[in-house]
């Protein structure tokens, strides 16, 4: 289906989903004209709240995502979902199965779900995801939910591009909490201990809270004895924290419990997300986070543009080839060679952008 850029953009503006889907593909594949497209959409971005949902495989991320979507929809909000799953490094293929858990929202015209494979993403998965999220933002979604499996650094980076990051854990994660600690603990704005119908959920919550240092100074006598899971159980530490959090300029990640399969614990999550966003706005952290992303983005583009201009220049390539033998023979150093190439590249920077990029 070849389409001119103009048709694509006008269909996109008219709110047509096939055009949105195609725009996402153009950006995801960095197809010709993708930068012009993103450039045209830029002025319309920045409206949506971006929420990252990450956690170990099978923790219930998609189930939670679908429930959040349904909740936002009943509040009249339009929601875009980006579900990222790993590409097999051996075959380049990917099995993207998150839609299976999102059936309940699949036919809602106010919802757009897009599955995305991590691919080789040379420019970084976070950058690729952010570009696609920008497309959804420009289309007019009020919320963008980004689901990623929280295993590797690149997935954690994806979560970091969101305004709020929810980390979904399950009782079974308890044993590995120490290993999760490094990356996950610092990116989480909200913890959800899902599958609270299984044994060990309370213990995991306690472990997380201990790790967050919340129990310092809180006597265990204040915590009522309980049996099994009572989601409405009053936790004095939590009550105090929530009260403080609604006012203060600091944020301590709440540790919620949920049984997503039964829809339990979702209102608490929605509330926590709203509180977190209010906190971000109140403390100017939102502008700080988004400003940081903008800076990163422009720097990335400068770097990739720099590389492209230097290495697409034939004279520079020739110079490189000429100098390599001298470096090999030890008659010059890699540093001197690089310095020469850099010095002679200065005029390349002023060259007008090549057409068709």
């Amino acid at each position: 289906m070849p389409r001119s850029a103009d048709t694509l953009l006008s269909d996109f503006d008219a709110g047509k989903v096939p055009a949105l889907a195609r725009a996402v593909s153009v950006v995801e594949n960095h197809r010709e004209g993708y930068d012009a497209l993103l450039g045209a959409l830029h002025s319309r971005t920045g409206r949506a709240r971006r929420i990252g949902i990450t956690g170990p495989p099978g923790a219930g991320k998609s189930t939670v995502t679908a429930l959040l979507v349904a909740n936002y929809r009943s509040a009249g909000l339009k929601v875009g979902v980006l579900a990222v799953d790993p590409t097999s490094p051996f075959t380049g293929g990917a099995l993207l199965g998150d839609r299976v858990r999102m059936e309940a929202i699949a036919l809602d015209s106010g919802v757009y779900i897009r599955s995305m494979a991590t691919r080789g993403s040379l420019g970084g998965l976070a950058a690729a995801t952010r570009e696609v999220a920008d497309v959804l933002d420009a289309f007019g979604f009020d919320r963008i939910l980004i689901e990623t499996v929280g295993v590797g650094q690149s997935e954690l980076d994806v979560a970091r591009t969101a305004d709020s990051t929810v980390v979904v854990l399950v009782p079974e994660s308890g044993d590995s909490i120490q290993t999760l600690k490094a990356g996950v603990m610092e990116i989480a704005d909200i913890f959800v201990v899902n599958k609270a119908d299984r044994p060990g959920a309370d213990r995991l919550r306690n472990d997380i809270e201990l790790m967050l240092g919340l129990r310092k100074g809180v006597s265990f006598g204040n915590i009522p004895a309980h049996h099994g899971v009572d989601l409405k159980r009053v936790n004095p530490a939590k009550v105090a924290r929530d009260a403080a959090a609604s006012e203060s300029n600091s944020w301590t990640p709440p540790v919620l419990s949920a049984i997503a399969r039964e829809g339990k614990g979702m209102q608490e999550l929605i509330d926590a997300l709203d509180r977190h966003f209010a906190y971000l706005e109140r403390t100017a952290k939102l502008a700080e986070r988004r400003g940081g992303r903008t800076r990163e983005r422009v720097m990335e583009l400068v770097e990739s543009g720099f590389k492209r201009r230097v290495w697409s220049d034939d004279a520079t390539q020739r110079r490189l080839e000429q100098m390599l033998p001298d470096v090999e023979k030890r008659s010059t150093t890699p540093f001197d060679a690089a310095e020469q190439i850099l010095e002679q590249s200065a005029d390349l920077m002023a060259k007008p952008r090549e057409k068709g990029r």
Partner: protein, 136 residues
């Protein structure tokens, strides 16, 4: 070349999706990006997902015998959205004359039970390479 994007769906009411999962895994192993949507998919769900995911191909696994209503319906819904370029293929127990009727409507090849998945893989790859060539 970018990976082929394929939606694998199991329409109809019959109860298991083993076949569809085997196909999904085979296509993934052949380097494709497979969006798997699960059981009991209605034509509306299939077409909606295919459009949102901007897939190149839809692979249907049909055993229920309702192919003569389901497949054309998916095709019509795609056409309404301007996506009649999507290849609809798949497998199931489909009598020869039905197969011919569907082919006449522009549906892609449908493979009988027991066909090795490598045939489907080869067919999709060939179709995709051909289309990319035309677009270039």
């Amino acid at each position: 070349m970018r990976p082929v994007r394929v939606l694998v769906a199991k329409p109809g009411l019959d109860g298991h999706d083993r076949g569809a999962k085997v196909v999904a895994a085979a296509l993934r192993d052949a380097g494709m990006e497979v969006i798997y949507t699960g059981l009991h998919q209605t034509p509306e769900m299939i077409a909606t997902a295919a459009v949102q995911e901007d897939v190149d191909v839809i692979g249907l696994s049909i055993l229920s015998g309702a192919h003569m209503t389901l497949i054309p319906r998916v095709q019509d819904l795609l056409r309404e959205q301007g996506r009649d370029d999507v290849l609809i293929t798949g497998g199931g127990i489909i009598p020869k004359e039905d197969m011919e009727a569907l082919t006449a409507r522009g549906i892609g090849r449908l493979f009988g039970p027991g066909t090795p998945t490598s045939e489907l893989v080869g067919y999709i790859k060939g179709w995709f390479a051909e289309r990319e060539k035309q677009e270039a």
